[in-house]
């Protein structure tokens, strides 16, 4: 039982680590650009 739990924990930690590294270095989500600002387009400039 102990061995199974320990193995589950190891593989969970490994999965989390791989997902983190993948997101950090390979798949970087696109960030939103700053909101448009200028004409009276409801941006609050006016």
């Amino acid at each position: 039982m102990n061995t199974i739990i320990q193995n589950i924990l190891v593989f969970s930690a490994l999965t989390l680590a791989l997902v983190f590294l993948f997101k950090k270095f390979i798949w970087v989500p696109k960030k939103k650009t700053t909101k448009a600002c200028g004409t009276d387009d409801g941006c609050g400039c006016h």
Binding site: I5, L21, T34, C37, G38, G44
Partner: protein, 699 residues
Amino acid sequence: MSKQINVALIGNPNTGKTSVFNALTGLNQKVGNYPGITVEKKEGICKLPRGVKAHIIDLPGTYSLNASSLDENVVIELLLNKNDKDFPDVAVVVTDVENLKRNLLLFTQIKDLEIPTILAINMSDRMKYKGISLDIDYLEKQLETKIALISTRKSKGIDNLKELITNYKELSKKPCMNASLIDESYFNNLRKAFPNQLLYKLWLVITQDVNFGKTDRKTFDKVEDFKTKSKTDLKRLQQKETIKRYQFINDALKKGQTIDLNSAKDLRIKLDRVLTHKVWGYLIFGIILLTIFQAIYDWSSIPMDFIDSSFAALSEWVKNTLPEGAFTNLLAEGIISGLGGIVIFIPQIAFLFLFIAILEESGYMSRVVFLMDRIMRRFGLSGKSVVPLISGTACAIPAIMATRNIESWKERLITILVTPFTTCSARLPVYLIIISLVIPEGRILGLSYQALTLMLLYLIGFGAAVGSAWILNKILKIKSKTFFVVEMPNYKLPMFKNVALTVLEKTKSFVFGAGKIILAISIVLWFLASYGPGDNFNNAESIITQQYATENLSEDELQQKIASHKLEHSFIGIAGHAIEPAIRPLGYDWKIGIAIVSSFAAREVFVGTLATIYSVGSDEEETIKNRMAGEVNPILGGPLFNFASGISLLLFYAFAMQCMSTLAIVKRETNSWKWPMYQLVIMSAFAYIVALIAFQVLK
């Protein structure tokens, strides 16, 4: 329920804006980035009288609202966008009492946006030394504002500033200057075309067309009855606006400020004569550098030894306390050892940032930039390249972003390409551990060999940056020249609070930024080192037992042999052996090879990787340094980390482009993969050749 108001701290650089921010928020502050861009955003919470809470935002320093850089655009975009969640209920313009005239230009522009504005005149404690006196009542009337005379150094006037912020609704919104005065007919047309909008805001939108999304100056061309002007004409009007503003400021200060030059005691000129002298200046800078590196070594050895032994003891305790199994091993050998490999360097990193913060706070760093400018020009770089190169000692990423204020594209490109040579804080752990292993502990003239080696590595990095800039300058044929202006702030005693907060923030970002990557890589490496394919790994015990059946090995020795056999045939062992032929001529074994490959994510991962690899299968409580010192070269015999292989490794890390994040930022800043790929190939090849020569000569 208490109300929260938004307060924007705005001001010229070197006015002590950040000191005001620290005085208002204390430790209730956080640092992030503005969305979509990489300009630093500092915000915090301040408790004001009568239960009011203020959300304080420390905006980037700017000389005016005529933006010329990304940092300055942030200020304008926030002040023009009422829908922004950070749009200020009140703006606090921080000024320096000694540069009031220049600082008031920005104040009048913000006031004209009809935002309630408080004028905070900082460094008031210096007034008597400079012979300055102010008629506050008169200035308040002329500038239509409330003034807080403060001294963050002496903690004076902050309560009054808080009181004024609390009562911000009483502030006048009346502008300082009638915008129409800039060009009456043009502004009358503008008013007719956009009757419901604030004239000065429209003027800013017309003139600052860079970062205003959908609207640029062309939008105004589409409006009937309004004809905008050419860029040259608009520039002329901007100059006219500045002149008008200074006329207004001069009038206000004529009666509001008196300066008695006879009572001004100026130590600054005398100090500048020495500190920026073409001989003494460099000599003093050299002595300061030597002192810093010596202190980094001397002061941090005790806390480092403590952290090292604590992590070794923690790892041992986890193994002995938790139930036996794979996860316990992962915790003890992978995670704790890997994290220990980074936490151990906190004292040295903190001391380095402590000295940098003191140099910046005291005003000396600007003199260093001035001194370095003289050198840089000979290598075809402008003085503006000095700032990225010096800030590269912390991290190449913000340093590369700091090149944005270099107007000439070629000069900027060269600075981007050479900045990764400067010794960043991520190299420091690698240097420190290897120096401690291969450089003796003796001293010469009171300076340790180890501190001198570290300083030499910093100089090699800077020399490589300047040298490669010279070569690139010849290849790329820079024709355009840029001017360089650096403001020399007054000398002042560093404020403990500012220095402490800088050290805390920088160390935190180093540990948490690198820590997460190291933790993840430690887990992956431990897995790869603890599992393997085939019989050689799975039947290691029986293979070794049979192999050494005739020899009288103790149980410990046998377990050691089994662990070593397993590691060699694990996934990581197989990968390490595959790359070994390429790195053996440099004096490295496969374990170092794995550490080099994994540290491509971030250089500081090198130490954590070795700590993890050397911990797998080991039952002994050992420090990282002892484990590395005990490694034996499998081919040549003797210590694996000896003088030749150590110097080879130091030089490899001095020149190699071992940082994925830097490559990504270079790609973003140059908008092409071509330049980061050149950088990667050339720097790595150069590092390999230098490391190869070093090992072959020294072995």
